[in-house]
């Protein structure tokens, strides 16, 4: 369950991909509760310019290391059966999903907090960069605040 695997996906995370991840957990019959977080690219308007897409990039070696640490520390902190993290690289259009956190446990009490913990740590600690591309093709660099 704790094996290191690829978090990064080229382009959007499709609803089919998410469905497939859920379906795979039906054989794990000790699970009673799943919690899923999805980050979707918002059509923000920044100083009269409308976001059309975000172009993600990352510092892969450091990202893999940080994601590995987050995974290990989440399993230590919460009683989970599985956890999965996926993040897009490259261009993701407005309305598309770019971030998918999936936590499963026998019982529900800790799943919400575990998901929130993972989401916050990924946002704060994993070196992922995002260029907000506006409809007029200009851009600005996104910052997690």
């Amino acid at each position: 369950m704790k094996k290191k695997k690829s978090v990064f996906k080229e382009g959007q995370i499709t609803s089919d991909f998410i469905a497939n991840a859920i379906a795979k957990h039906q054989v794990k019959t000790q699970i009673g509760a799943h919690n899923i977080f999805l980050g979707q690219v918002r059509k923000d308007v920044i100083e009269d310019k409308t976001v059309k897409a975000i172009d993600f990039s990352c510092y892969q070696e450091m990202a893999d290391q940080k994601l590995h640490d987050i995974r290990e520390e989440t399993f230590e902190k919460f009683d989970l059966t599985c956890m999965h993290i996926y993040h897009s690289l490259g261009e993701v259009q407005v309305g598309e999903v770019c971030f998918f956190v999936f936590v499963s446990a026998p019982h529900r009490p800790q799943v919400y907090e575990a998901t929130e913990y993972i989401v916050n740590r990924v946002k704060e600690e994993v070196p992922i960069f995002g260029k907000e591309i506006f409809e007029d093709a200009s851009y600005q660099w996104k910052t997690n605040v």
């Binding site: 070696e61 450091m62 996104k142 997690n144």
Partner: protein
């Protein structure tokens, strides 16, 4: 000393890595170099040495074998 750039930093420097010669191989000298050459402000950059963020205010010596990365603000999620 090889330095790699990511995010907005790579955009500003217009390169993803470069070979830098510093008289004194430490974090402070590197910050000064980046500020003078590219006008990158201290609070616009994060510095990772061997995949770990380091303090920008402490005096940290750098080795040629270190993987030194200059990162802009994180924007994952």
């Amino acid at each position: 000393m090889k330095v790699i750039y990511f995010g907005k930093i790579a955009d500003v420097t217009n390169k993803t890595f470069e070979e830098i010669q510093l008289e004194k191989k430490d974090v402070k000298s590197l910050i000064i170099y980046l500020n003078e050459k590219y006008a990158i402000d201290l609070n616009e950059m994060q510095i990772a040495v061997n995949q770990n963020l380091v303090s920008k205010s402490e005096q940290i010596t750098l080795k040629d074998s270190d993987e030194i990365a200059i990162l802009s603000a994180f924007a994952g999620g």
